[in-house]
């Protein structure tokens, strides 16, 4: 496969800090453990009482989307698509819900977020996005599969732009769960890219090429999908780059071309 488009916005909520195209890098405060401790004021300017209610995957997705859209004023997001790739989906929330059930008081707030698609719903509702959406959960590189889905949406003219998100929202307490193999522990992260098929009058307009072949999308081998962070760093630093990806699920490259 070969797909090309333009990146119009990007952000990352990562163990090493928060990143966005115009804002660059911001480290966590000393009392913050990382992405799951993100505070509303670090990603979104307006007061939002609901922020604290968001479950971990939803919170990471909202935070990445809020940082990205916070740098894109005056655009109509209504028809945008959303494509999410997530390694463990809502697994930590599923566990919290089961714990509350066993304790005799099942928590509705947990139950309502026990779906891998929950982050997409939160982002769509909070940012008024009504275009098509896709969720890829599991596999060796779900973020790249989500990117592939986004290019499909753009190719078919189903949306003028697509928000691609790659998320791993597993809480620390669950990383030793018997459900997950010891080689698959990764720190939580959320990456977001806004891609369009053509140039925008006002936008980042970083031309981007995605090429290669998917092998086995069914195999779950959680890498950290750090190629997204490499791309975001190239955009922040206004550099070109070509990132080779050789994983169990995909072999190919991601290229950010000259600014």
């Amino acid at each position: 496969m070969h797909a090309a488009g333009f990146i119009q916005g990007c952000s990352a909520v990562h163990q090493s800090g928060r990143y966005s195209a115009r804002g660059g890098h911001a480290a966590w405060e000393q009392n913050q453990q990382g992405p799951l401790d993100v505070q509303r004021k670090q990603v979104y300017e307006q007061p939002l009482p609901e922020f604290g209610k968001l479950q971990c995957a939803d919170k990471l997705a909202f935070s990445a989307a809020a940082m990205l859209f916070g740098e894109l004023s005056g655009i109509d997001r209504t028809d945008f698509g959303i494509c999410l790739g997530t390694v463990y989906g809502s697994l930590s929330t599923d566990i919290r819900y089961m714990e509350s059930l066993v304790a005799g008081y099942p928590r509705p707030a947990y139950f309502s977020a026990t779906l891998p698609s929950s982050p997409v719903a939160e982002v769509a509702i909070r940012f008024g996005i009504k275009g098509p959406n896709r969720v890829v959960c599991g596999g060796a590189c779900p973020g790249l599969s989500a990117l592939d889905c986004a290019f499909g949406i753009l190719r078919k003219n189903k949306a003028p732009a697509a928000l691609v998100m790659a998320i791993n929202a597993l809480e620390a307490a669950d990383r030793s769960s018997a459900l997950i193999g010891p080689a698959q522990f990764t720190e939580p992260y959320a990456y977001a890219l806004l891609i369009s098929a053509g140039r925008w009058e006002k936008g980042l307009n970083r031309r981007f090429v995605f090429e290669g072949e998917f092998h086995d999308r069914g195999m779950t081998l959680a890498g950290d999908e750090s190629y997204f962070l490499d791309m975001i760093l190239a955009i922040i630093l206004r550099r070109q780059c070509r990132i080779a990806v050789e994983s169990a699920g995909f072999e190919g490259s991601l290229s950010i071309e000259k600014d």
Binding site: Q39, R40, P47, L48, P49, E50, F51, G52, K53, Y105, P106, R107, P108, A109, S112
Partner: protein
């Protein structure tokens, strides 16, 4: 009653993990659901669980629920009148 109202405000904030809100920000007589706190139907269910777990008070039907969740003061009054746990 005022003591219970204050405690309920704190419990609402902690149970629902509300950000950017302190007990002083919550008007005891303002609508609890659909108001400035951004609470929705899932939060109503959370509050029903809280009432049962902490106070042993249950909401038998929707009509009672509408009155109970009309404000923090109404919620406190209902708990005061129907609690089975101290």
């Amino acid at each position: 009653m005022e003591e219970l109202i204050h405690k309920l405000k704190e419990q609402i904030i902690s149970t629902l993990n509300l950000s950017d809100i302190t007990p002083e920000d919550i008007d005891a007589d303002a609508p609890l659901i659909g108001g400035g706190l951004g609470l929705d139907s899932i939060d109503t269910l959370e509050l029903i669980v809280l009432m049962e777990k902490e106070y042993g008070a249950t909401v038998p039907d929707v009509n009672v629920g509408r009155k109970v969740f009309s404000s923090v003061r109404a919620l406190a009054q209902y708990i005061h009148d129907n609690r089975t746990k101290n």
